[in-house]
């Protein structure tokens, strides 16, 4: 299976001749019908939100939810939602958290992977298994006691506390790094050692640059994960000024609970960054999904 994932360069499925038999035509119709049907299923919930987000209060009350808005340029709801949930601040927090978590987890992840992959020492296998075992523990269950520990360490309600915790719960990217490193020939290290390089130099000057594709993949995956994380954020970042984007949407629970035109606008704002990243980095995301699957 590992092999199949490494062959990310997709081989085109051969279609040399096209002969249209009746069966083939029916299959073609079924094919496109299913694609369109399930494609619609996937977007309709989101599209309905977009439609509602552009409606004025008046329109929202008087028209059916699926009726198109009068004007597609009515950005009032977006502005109101942005201000009500203090999303500017939340975006800033999300960016700080993401940059720190990605930076730290790339550094410690690649370092750990380097050591585990390149050196044989007693306990190497044990450490790998410890990480593997950790990935089995469902995070929601763990938070029951992690909460206690975070409280004791005075890390609750501090952005840095949340960042430290998020760095610690990372297993998938370590696996992506180890997997990738297995394909970097050891002879590179050896020739560097002969040239008198220290291990740090090998890590910093040889490994890190060669790991770039793996780093990009893991950053995108982890970045999306961190951006969307809400459970721990809600537990540990209770002060309003610490809210990240994901939990800033909680503002709409309660008194604003039925103003769906505002809520939808907020939801759309919150998923825009993910959408942009997705459009720009489709390939890396798809290959990251395949690489992440190996851990099981």
């Amino acid at each position: 299976m590992e092999k199949s994932n490494l062959q990310t360069a997709a081989k085109p499925v051969a279609h040399r001749r096209k002969h249209y038999t009746p069966g083939g035509i029916i299959w073609l119709i079924v094919e496109y019908a299913s694609l369109i049907f399930f494609g619609l299923c996937a977007v309709i919930p989101v599209i309905s939100c977009v439609i509602t987000a552009f409606k004025t209060e008046e329109e929202y009350r008087s028209t059916n939810v699926m009726t198109l808005p009068e004007s597609w340029l009515n950005f009032d709801n977006f502005v109101k939602a942005f201000q009500a949930a203090d999303m500017g601040h939340a975006f800033l927090n999300s960016v700080i958290v993401m940059v720190c978590v990605l930076l730290v987890s790339v550094i410690i992840g690649t370092q750990l992977a380097y050591v585990l992959n390149r050196f044989k020492f007693p306990g190497n296998g044990l450490i790998r298994n410890l990480f593997l075992f950790a990935s089995l523990l469902p995070s929601v269950a763990m938070q029951v006691t992690v909460y206690q520990i975070m409280t004791n360490l005075h890390l609750v309600n501090h952005l840095y506390g949340y960042i430290i915790m998020m760095c610690g719960t990372d297993v998938i990217s370590i696996y992506i790094f180890i997997q990738f490193m297995e394909n970097i020939p050891v002879s590179l290290d050896e020739s560097a050692i002969i040239d008198g390089a220290s291990y740090w130099t090998i890590y910093w000057k040889i490994m890190l640059p060669l790991l770039k594709p793996a780093i990009v993949t893991s950053c995108i995956l982890k970045g999306v994960g961190v951006y969307n994380e809400y459970y721990a954020a809600n537990l540990y970042l209770q002060k309003k000024e610490l809210h990240t984007i994901a939990i800033s949407l909680y503002t709409f629970v309660g008194p604003m609970g039925s103003q769906y035109n505002l809520i939808c606008a907020g939801v759309i704002i919150s998923l825009l960054p993910a959408l942009i990243v997705f459009i720009l980095c489709q390939k890396q995301i798809y290959s990251g999904i395949a690489a992440g699957a190996v851990k099981g």
Binding site: M1, S4, N5, K11, P12, V13, A14, R16, R17, W27, L35, F38, C41, A42, V43, P45, V46, S48, V65, Q111, L112, V115, F121, A134, L136, L137, V140, A141, V144, T145, V146, Q148, I149, L153, C167, G168, T169, I193, I194, Y199, Y203, N228, Y230, Y231, L235, A246, I247, L249, Y250, Y260, S270, L271, A274, L275, I279, Q282, I289, A290, A293, G296
Partner: protein, 343 residues
């Protein structure tokens, strides 16, 4: 040369430790320690320490705020409670809904992945559409689907377009006979695209010659799917079936963000979360967590055993695949060889 470098350095630093630290062996040990300290510390603090505490707390009656000396040791009482209270262990029954959902999701993903791995116009576009829900945050999904299922809103409107009467439609999130299915549908909506991308990756790694040969021989797409695609991605499909079982047991997000566990939609973890953070019965919550962890471990061990079996199978599969290829080159009788591969 490396040896001479370390020798000259050794002469400069006569201390024993420094001598060792400058040697290759010493450097290796130092770099190992330096590179592993932080990750292991984090792993210990946020995984194994809480895990140990969890096991310990599960024998106590306590709240988060209870000082250490006021905690009451109650032995196995929490565990007995987990199995006796209706709201705890009974909630695991809801996992069955999610298991059914997971199976539907896998079949759907496999079907769409097969379609998309043949040449289709706009294939990438559809792939993107179906994958995108995976990237939406849990909270956003909660709002989207509360809106979607509200009486007379999106879902009801669409069903009315299809000729249903509003009076005949249930309240999707309140009616106890249907609300769990509504939530499961949401979960399928969110994850089927991700499964599909996984399967497409696996299908693409199958040798394209096989399809070509099969097509030249007049095999239709269903035959290609049955005899070429399915056997070659069996491993990853099995893996996902097993993962979906553990996933269903720990189903949490959809009920948590959409219904908050109301109206009989509280899965095991939603109840546990409530017991821990709202009722503050930390001991009971920990016992619940430990019980589910044990079940998950059992599943994982079964999975490992199962995989040993599949792996043995896969090796022999590989051999026949090579044999197949050789035969293909010799006589181009693709159909016969693919049938043999399956047999």
């Amino acid at each position: 040369m490396a040896a001479t470098v370390s020798k000259t350095k050794n002469e400069k630093k006569p201390f024993h430790f420094m001598k060792w630290a400058k040697s290759r062996k010493g450097q290796q040990v130092l770099i190992c320690i330096a590179f592993m300290v932080i990750p292991l510390l984090l792993l210990f603090t946020f995984t194994y320490l809480p895990f140990g505490e969890m096991v310990k707390f599960s024998f106590y009656k306590m709240k988060y705020s209870t000082p250490v000396d006021k905690r009451v040791f109650v032995g196995l009482k929490n565990y007995i409670d987990v199995f006796q209270r209706d709201d705890c262990f009974g909630a695991l029954k809801l996992s069955l809904y999610y298991m059914v959902g997971a199976i539907i999701q896998l079949v759907l993903a496999l079907y769409l992945a097969t379609i998309l791995s043949f040449k289709v116009k706009g294939g990438n576009f559809f792939k993107g559409l179906m994958f995108f829900p995976y990237l939406i945050s849990g909270i956003a999904i909660g709002f989207i689907f509360k809106f979607f299922y509200t009486r007379g809103f999106v879902f009801d409107t669409i069903l009315q377009w299809c000729g249903f009467e509003l009076e005949n439609l249930p309240y999707w999130l309140k009616d106890q006979s249907i609300n769990n299915w509504s939530l499961v549908a949401t979960s399928v909506w969110r994850y089927f695209g991700q499964n599909m991308v996984l399967f497409i990756g696996a299908i693409m790694s199958v040798d394209a010659d096989l399809y070509e040969a099969a097509e030249l021989d007049g095999a239709n797409k269903f035959q290609q799917f049955k005899h070429i695609i399915l056997p070659s991605i069996r491993t990853i499909v099995t893996l996902n079936v097993i993962l979906s079982i553990t996933g269903s047991l720990s189903a949490f997000e959809q009920p948590f963000v959409i219904t908050d566990g109301a109206n009989g939609t509280g899965t095991y973890f939603v109840i546990m979360n409530d017991i821990a953070h709202t009722s503050q019965k930390v001991g009971l919550a920990c016992a619940m967590a430990v019980v589910l962890l044990l079940i998950i471990f059992a599943c994982t061990i079964l999975q490992k055993l199962f995989f040993k079996y599949v792996f043995r199978d896969a090796e022999s599969d590989d051999e026949s695949y090579k044999a197949k290829k050789a035969r293909l080159a010799a006589e181009k009788a693709a159909r016969r060889s693919t049938k043999k591969g399956v047999a």
